[in-house]
């Protein structure tokens, strides 16, 4: 668990406030030579609001929940413990439970296979220690409730089960399909009729009857699908996002955004529709959408052309006209075949206070101030050394990879993934030069780029290609290739602490600083 011992110091030339990332945990680590099963590849990661729980979804349609081990108590007790124990420990998680959220389906009307792959997970408001979350694949969103339930063991019955059943103990362990009372031909309808209301009971009741006694109080976690929001998307759902009002959420596909009430699964309202009358006129699709963290009427969505639109739900029912548009003017003369492809935004995230929006396109991370639509307040080059290789990346489709991005809870840092299981963390404070490169492995600093770290906002800070270790397969003839198959697409920052969870294929790595 504490494999960060031999971690190198982050960017020696960097400013002192740079974080030193250490390895914390790994779940589902691959042993050398083990082949990754397609279904095990993680496709979504999400911390809940408190940071006490973490959920991952995978291509096999499963959702796995992890819970924090170091602070396990709710409410004020946790605060007390913190006060007693000021030495802040980094968050550690343990496996909590998992469930099959989506199954592969077939749309008979359109002759389309619907993958079970989980595209996004979002946590909803916790209530009574039951956890709630939304998970979605390409077409269907599901609302899950995960709760501890008592395992019932009934020991005292009125009717001897051995007399009616086949010797089964009438407990919850009885397999479905064996109905102890009905099996022997006792017809319940008839017997209930006999208990019609005019059947006279003695006023004192019948002493020989007694209530079943529940003996065991063991509990087990049960995940139940409470609602299914289906048949509202013609295209693939790319994002879901909860509203701060606690009762609605949105789901976005390539061309439309729908608004749902959590309690109502059979109707949704279309609030954005960018589908042109003629599909041949289509030039831009929606790539990601998110609600403002506190203003219930505001949401942002990004497009394949690199713009972010902010819309105000108060203005009209169908918000095809944006309130604000954020996009960067293209530098003249820089246009190439790839310009539009790499401009496509793969993910947007609001900062915790809702002032900033972080966006990720193929080559950069951009931070936007929602009060300034002239251009981003900061741009971070993620893997500028790939620019000469765009042609190769296009050939093998890697250029269409959708990297996610995340902000730290305090909004001071941002992170995103890259190839060869690398991810990068940047400081966003003006003057910060923090720009770390880490590898999703037990030794995150192994890949530390040795070039002196220059201010991250300048272009081409990373012109040198990182040399691959000898143990990695797939080195090309020049010896400087990147492994495009190991890409770190999904990662999440803990809401309150400097801790990052990221997915490398089927493994979940956690780091802290």
């Amino acid at each position: 668990m504490n494999g960060g011992g031999d971690a190198e110091v982050a960017s020696p030339a960097g400013p002192p406030q740079s974080l030193e990332w250490k390895f914390s945990q790994v779940f589902g680590e691959r042993t050398a030579g083990e082949e990754v099963q397609e279904v095990d590849i993680i496709s979504a990661i999400e911390f809940d609001k408190t940071g006490d729980h973490l959920a991952t979804g995978d291509r096999g349609g499963r959702v796995v929940l992890f819970e924090r081990t170091d602070t396990r108590h709710h409410g004020f007790r946790r605060d007390l413990e913190r006060m007693d124990n000021p030495i802040s420990r980094h968050p550690e998680f343990r496996y909590k439970t998992e469930f099959q959220s989506h199954e592969p389906e077939f749309d008979y009307l359109k002759s389309l296979e619907i993958e079970e792959k989980i595209n996004k997970i979002r946590w909803c408001q916790t209530a009574n220690s039951a956890l709630f979350l939304l998970s979605t694949n390409d077409k269907t969103i599901k609302f899950w409730k995960v709760q501890e339930k008592k395992v019932k063991k009934i020991c005292e019955m009125n009717v001897d089960p051995s007399r009616v059943g086949n010797g089964n103990v009438a407990s919850s362990s009885v397999t479905a399909g064996v109905k102890p009372y009905l099996a022997n031909g006792v017809c319940p309808e008839r017997s209930y009729n006999y208990l019609s209301n005019d059947f006279a009971f003695s006023p004192g009741g019948i002493p020989s009857l007694h209530l079943p006694v529940v003996a065991s109080h063991e509990t087990s976690l049960v995940a139940k699908c409470r609602r299914i929001y289906a048949h509202a998307h013609d295209y693939h759902i790319n994002s879901i996002s909860n509203n701060s009002d606690g009762e609605t959420f949105i789901s976005a596909d390539d061309l439309r955004i729908n608004l749902w009430n959590l309690e109502i699964s059979n109707q949704s309202f279309n609030i954005v529709d960018v589908k042109p009358a003629n599909m041949e006129d289509l030039t831009e699709v929606i790539t990601s959408a998110e609600f403002h963290p506190t203003h219930c009427n505001m949401l942002a969505y990004s497009s394949s052309k690199g713009s972010i639109r902010l819309i105000d739900l108060r203005q009209s029912a169908l918000c095809d006209n944006h309130t604000k548009l954020f996009e960067e003017q293209e530098a003249p003369g820089s246009r190439s075949f790839f310009t539009e492809i790499i401009a496509s935004i793969s993910d947007i995230k609001f900062g915790k206070n809702g002032r900033y929006i972080l966006s990720r396109d193929y080559m950069t991370l951009k931070l936007w101030d929602i009060n300034m639509d002239a251009g981003p307040v900061a741009t971070f080059q993620v893997h500028e050394y790939l620019r000469p290789k765009l042609c190769d990346l296009y050939e093998n489709d890697s250029i269409f990879d959708k990297f996610e991005c995340c902000l730290s809870g305090d909004g001071l840092r941002v992170a995103t993934g890259s190839y060869s299981n690398l991810f990068r963390v940047f400081g966003v404070m003006s003057g910060s030069t923090e720009a770390s490169t880490l590898e999703a492995s037990k030794n995150p600093m192994r890949r530390q780029v040795q070039t002196p770290s220059r201010p991250s906002r300048s272009l081409s800070s990373l012109t040198r290609v990182v040399r691959r270790g000898a143990d990695s397969p797939g080195v090309d003839t020049n010896g400087n290739a990147f492994d495009f198959t190991t890409k770190l697409l999904h990662l999440a920052w803990h809401p309150t602490e400097n801790s990052i969870a990221c997915a490398a294929a089927n493994s979940l790595y956690m780091y802290y600083a």
Partner: protein, 587 residues
């Protein structure tokens, strides 16, 4: 494991199944909870059953919902009102569960029980429960508590009343929007129980907080509060405190809030009285009618008649009518449709002259609307205008509109206009109908869509009822019979259907002389579907015609059909024969 006597066996099973693995059986037992309670007796119900239910509350939501409902009517089974407090703990737990419908039901049951409880018991048991829920750690409990204050408050002593008011005020400022929403939607009920002095101070300040909430979803619930509170306040207070809020809401940034105002405006007008309505709400309403958002205009347009009814005609003509004119050419078809569905009702309000002068052009333009729903909505309310100005002025435009709808390419539109044909016939009179619409009615019998043919047949029946047998003999029967030899069997079947519908209206004589012949001829049809429908029609004719006709014509025909090679034909023919035998025996 105890052994149970035979007579008790069912009840024993019922009790055991409270904990069965199968949710259906558990639900069944919970729904029979009263039976179980009576079997156990009042004392054991109090001491065993209720605690048992309190403990076993982690069941599925469906079971919990049923439990919450049953407990609401459980007072008699625990020994009457003096023991009612026994029922509070399990319901209190149910008030905190995650599923909204369970909580709502538990709150409803608690209110029902609380309404029966003695004042001293309420103070001892119910009020502490409300306070516990209101201070609940999870928002679910606090949400539920809001719906209980109106039961708790009236019986509370002065000190407690002050406390309850301040707790409610806190709930209205809760961090969780769900709690504030619940507080906002229950405010009217709670306010109704609060003394007038506190109403003006405490409740109004709570209300003002809610009206400024930054969550749209809370503010729009406060709109409903306006009407509820307005009815409780003295008129002058209402004008001073509620009216400005309504006017503000009508200009809220959020269209959803303005939509609520548009929807509620009529109630709000009632609350503030006629004079403020005239001075303040008419301008507010005019703004809503011209709102940027189509949804708001739809809501406002739908209330135009209701609103005009509380104004004098002059005001309506001066302020509302110009907006109505604009709306009649609104860019949104749904706005025009909403307007068309109510605008005819304005005719009686405005009177004959104003209707002819002002409304008629609007009617006529809506009758030519490109969107069929708009035209249909106008046609469906024709009677309201007819009473005021007569139909003649409209009929010129009406006919093209009807003909166009009758030939619309969407069958649902055609279906809708058929439904209105009898209404139109009664309004337009026989003469107009004969000239223009008769042919249409026949044309629908040969529509491509079954539902239209079916509706067309039914329409003929309703016309026959409207205009009487003589008229029908002249204008319907000959045309229908002509079509009985249509080369397509589906159309022949429609005619059979029409005959079976017309026969009861036309009576025995005409049926025997005109209709029966056609049916019996059809029994020689080469299509089995026609033949078994003949059997069905004949069966329906048996009660209408004379016994002798049954003997001489219907039965021989059925007998022949009952030996048909087709199994379905034989089946229906035999069924009809059986009916005829039953009729004979009974007569």
């Amino acid at each position: 494991m105890a052994m149970i006597d035979e007579p008790l066996y069912p009840i024993a099973v019922l009790i055991d199944e409270l904990k069965n693995e199968d949710i259906q059986l558990r639900l069944n037992s919970i729904r029979r909870l009263s039976t179980i309670a009576r079997a156990l007796g009042e004392e054991r119900t109090r001491k065993e059953l209720i605690p048992f239910l309190s403990e076993n509350n982690d069941d599925d939501d469906e079971v919990l919902l049923a439990m919450a409902e049953e407990l609401g009517v459980f007072v008699p089974y625990v020994g009457g009102v003096e023991y009612a407090n026994i029922l509070l703990p399990p319901l209190e737990t149910l008030c905190t569960v995650e599923e909204t419908c369970v909580r709502d039901k538990a709150v409803e049951s608690l209110c029902r029980i609380g309404a029966q409880m003695k004042e001293s018991d309420l103070v001892e048991w119910f009020i502490p429960l409300v306070k516990r829920l209101a201070a609940g750690e999870w928002f679910t409990a606090r949400v539920s508590s809001c719906g209980l204050f109106h039961i708790a408050y009236p019986s509370a002593p002065e000190m407690l009343k002050t406390e309850l008011r301040s707790i409610y005020s806190q709930l209205c400022q809760d961090d969780m929007p769900m709690v504030r929403r619940s507080a906002a939607s229950n405010l009217g009920k709670f306010a109704a129980t609060v003394e007038p002095t506190h109403l003006k101070t405490d409740i109004m300040s709570i209300f003002e907080d809610l009206t400024q909430d930054d969550q749209d979803s809370v503010r729009l619930l406060a709109v409903e509060g306006c009407a509820a509170l307005g009815k409780l306040l003295e008129p002058q207070d209402c004008v001073a405190h509620i009216l400005p809020v309504i006017v503000n809401f009508s200009q809220d940034k959020s269209w959803r809030v303005r939509y609520m105002v548009a929807n509620q405006l009529y109630e709000l007008c009632e609350a503030v009285g006629p004079e403020p309505t005239r001075t303040d709400l008419v301008p507010a309403y005019v703004r809503l009618l011209r709102d940027n958002e189509a949804e708001v205009r739809i809501a406002a347009a739908g209330k135009v008649t209701k609103f005009c009814r509380i104004l004098n005609p002059q005001l309506a003509i001066q302020h509302i009518l110009p907006c109505v004119k604009e709306l009649s050419s609104d860019s949104s078809q749904h706005v025009r449709s909403a307007l068309a569905s109510v605008i005819m009702g304005m005719a009686p309000i405005l009177g004959k002259d104003a209707t002819i002068e002002q409304l008629l052009p609007i009617f006529l333009s809506l009758l030519k609307d490109e969107f069929p729903d708009v035209r249909l909505n106008i046609i469906s309310k024709l009677d309201q205008v007819n009473q005021v100005i007569g139909i003649d002025l409209l009929s010129q435009s009406l006919l093209p509109a009807i003909v166009e709808l009758a030939e619309d390419r969407h069958w649902r539109v055609r279906l809708a206009i058929i439904e209105y044909i009898p209404l139109l016939a009664s309004q337009l009179g026989v003469g107009f109908f004969d000239d223009k619409l008769g042919a249409l009615c026949m044309q629908w019998l040969e529509d491509k869509v079954y539902s239209i043919r079916d509706a067309a047949a039914n329409n003929l029946k309703r016309l026959a009822e409207e205009f009487g047998p003589d008229w029908t003999m002249q204008h319907i029967i000959p045309q229908v019979l002509e079509m009985a030899n249509n080369p397509h069997y589906l159309y022949r079947m429609t005619i059979l259907n029409a005959i079976s519908l017309l026969a009861p209206v036309m009576g025995s004589d005409i049926t025997c002389s005109k209709l029966l012949q056609v049916v019996t001829n059809a029994s020689k049809d080469r299509v089995p579907n026609i033949k078994f429908n003949v059997a069905k029609v004949l069966q329906s004719l048996i009660p209408i015609v004379d016994q002798s006709v049954v003997e001489q014509t219907i039965r021989p025909c059925l007998v022949e059909l009952s030996e048909d090679p087709d199994v379905d034909v034989r089946f229906f023919a035999r069924q009809a024969l059986q009916t005829s035998e039953q009729v004979m025996m009974s007569s």
